[in-house]
């Protein structure tokens, strides 16, 4: 596997899941595939944290799950963003922007 892939920093997995699901409802496997694709294989999601994260977000009411049929006609659990989830996504995106701006400012000091 590509050596350039990096593990996700703590706390960013929730944000990525919310963002991914804001485009369309997906099942767990697709969420992990999508994150990997969009980040050009840089970000890899550990299944060991993906599913607990999905269940945690569901419990908080930011995403909700329903059983549907997958593209290959299998029963699969699809997650979609709720209204509360959308609000949360905005908050987290905002916070992330601020954080990265601040971090890059510090890094760019010469």
């Amino acid at each position: 596997m590509p050596s350039r892939s990096i593990d996700l920093p703590q706390g960013t997995l929730d944000l990525l899941i919310l963002r991914t699901l804001s485009l369309e409802p997906l099942h767990g496997w697709a969420v992990s595939e999508r994150i990997q694709q969009i980040s050009s294989d840089v970000l890899r999601v550990q299944q060991g944290s993906l599913y607990p994260a999905l269940h945690r977000l569901e419990r908080r009411g930011w995403i909700k799950a329903r059983w549907g049929t997958s593209e290959n006609n299998r029963k699969a659990k699809f997650y979609e963003l709720t209204k509360a989830g959308r609000r949360q996504l905005e908050i987290e995106q905002d916070a992330w922007q601020k954080l990265t701006t601040a971090v890059s400012q510090i890094l760019e000091i010469t």
Binding site: H27, G28, W29, A30, E33, Q46, Q47, G48, S49, Y51, P52, A53, L54, H55, R56, E58, R59, R60, G61, W67, S70, N72, R74, K75, A76, K77, A84
Partner: protein
Amino acid sequence: MFLQDLLFRLRALFRHPAVENELDDELRFHLEQQTAKYMKSGMSEAEAARRARLEFGGLDQIKDGCREARGVSLIESLVQDLRYSARTLLHSPAFTASAVLTLALGIGANTAIFSVVNQVLLNPLPYPNPEELLTARQNDALPNLKDLQHQTNSFVSSGGVNISPMDFAGNGEPVRVHAAWVDGGLFATLGVQPMQGRWISAAEDVKGGPRNVVVSYSFWRDFLGADPHVLGRAIRLSDNSFTVIGVMPRNFSLPRELADVYLALWVGYPEAAPERVVHFMHTYWRLKPGVQLAQAQADITRADRRLAEAFPDPERERNTVLIPLHEFLVGNVRPALLVLFGAVGLVLLIACANFAMLLMARAVTRQRELMIRASLGARNGRLIRQRLTESTLLSLVGGAAGLLAAKAGTTLLLALKPAELRHWTAIPMDGRVFAFVFAISLLTGLLFGLLPAWSASRGDLAEALRENARTTATGVSRSPLRSFLVTAELALALVLLAGAGLLIKGFLRLRSVNPGFNPANVITMYLQLPGTRYPKIPMQNNFRRELLARINASPGVQAAMITDLPLAGNDVDHRVVIEGQQPPAVGTEPLVQTLSVMGNYFGVMQIPVRLGRDFTELDREGQPRAVIVNETFVRQLLPGQDPIGSRINWARNDDPNAWMTIVGVAGDVKHFGLNQPVDPAVYEPFSQNDEAWRKWMTLVIRTKLPQAAVVEDVKKQVWSMDSQIPVSAIQSMDDLLAVSVAEQRFNMLLLVCFAALAVALAGVGIYGMVAYRVNQRTHEIGVYIALGAQRRDVLRLVMKDGVRLALLGIVLGLAGATALTRVMVSLLFEVKPTDPATLLGVALLLAAIALLACYIPARRALSIHPVTALRCE
């Protein structure tokens, strides 16, 4: 938001199987998708599946993570663990039964003793605001009590009571009842209202007051037919008619006395009421709120001093000491109860050690299962939690079984109870007892479950696995925890055994004390002549003489009588002066027991007359007064003097004819108990006594005839002379002797039971350890035997560890025993708490038992056949 969260959790909890299935489906779907993806990129199906699974990681771990994320994992996994534990425990009934039984014994014994401690030491007395109640160590007289009441201001109220027998002639045989002669303040002090009617008022407690009586609940029920209209009814007590004015509630009893009827002292015994000298009332005092004991004591001491100045003759030595009532009642039993509670705590520790060892052995037999679960990704914490659930489940079941055992145990305790506990007719299990059982069960399960679980997670398990795989040739299981537990068990067992041994030795010493008389084949009975029909001494003595003559006329019966029997707990004391000796200051003359006898008392009781002569028929009315004293009297009051012919008199007796000549010296008699010192005593013939108030007598009858027949005959003789006189307190001298040592017997029996339990548990513990090791080393032993080892070599091999640990435990136990048995000092009679013979004896006994416990499983090693052992490989 909160509601949603709650619904979500509840769904997870109650729709548990559905949620679990969904999780399975979801994760399986993921794996399939991943596998399909790899197959698309050209891998074989097997390769793709393998790769996907590898990437996915531990399935159990992810599931745990999801459950935790759903926020129900704690309860959910607890339910899961419980279900799993219950299932696995039911699959190994032998293990479950031995664990539950072990704990039930330990917890049951603790609960039984705790119930007693709770009831006796912790529960308050059954009076309102019991912490305000005090009693005086000394008895007092009614006029003194009244004076103290007037001259102190620390008390809300106070009262006194004296218990005396009265005869109740209802229907059928006359019976002797316990009458409480009280002063009016008593019930205000105790603060209990009658169930019916009213209490005796202060206005009735005067000279010539009305003949009113308050009856106890049981008297009302048993003798008055629970008559609902009993108030105003007349009853006959000792030849007088009394009007019932009240009935006390069922659960009421006086603090230290048993009473059937209550009447004013002025009414019941007007002769004694105004006498200062007659100190025969127990007194009770209720503190004013906020007043401290020390203040009250100072207050009463001041009043005492004033009384002593006002009445120097009888009251010179006044020294009333107040003490909290609860302390007074339980002070004597507290040390014994605490020692027993400590002892039973040690039993529980031993039971817990066995429990822990059982759990460890089980962990080893279940290692495959644990290994598989661990390799499936179950985290260590989760495995420990599972095992804790199992041990806690076991200990709670053990606790419940223990509660049942304790219920039976307290019934047994009550049957054995010593006199000090007689007020507690039942030992109820209240909330505190249940809380105690629950707490120790939970603690036992968690603590002693954690110990092996923790030790297993730290490598004992790994060692056990390795051992079982026989990868190491010398794979000797020397689990340090197990060794520690066995050593500790034996040490604790030795401490208990030492305690029990000391109590046994003390008890045997006590029983071997010579009471001063021969108790075998002696029956005793108590009679009291009613003052109304026998007011004068000659009438009383005619009755006595006639009764003795009639009884002695039957063949095979030898009868005599005395006022107060040894070991019956009563006596009358007089101050005495001796002719020719400088009389001490008034009020400080020596006190001596004064006993009146009739008939051949010393002969019947087989009390030796050491010097001089016994009483004869001639020592009677009109003759010079003769007395016999005991050896202690001579030793203390006539040192270096020939007692025979010396003359004595009661202090301040001005009658010149009252001087009494000592005609004999009788052997000492243990009047107050085998462990009590002997007081100086004076015996005088009833026929020469000039105190008409000595209306009572105890018959002593030596006979080999059946007791019941003799008692019937005596009753017939008494009632043919006077049908109104009750015959009571019918008991053999042997029984009296047994009752007098009942408390020591109680302590000894209980501690012996606990020690036996402890030794049995420790024996099982060491047996289990050796058996386990023999099992583990079957292969090695087989090889050893194949190489030509002799029986003794094999035995030495397998017993070595056990014996070494046992000896270590015994040595540590000896050290512990010398330190701990000190707390028993007050329970021991003439035995030092470090009695070397006892300690050595119990150490040898325990060593022998430990050796046996090692030998039995070791013998099995001898029967190992080398070929079979090797084939196991």
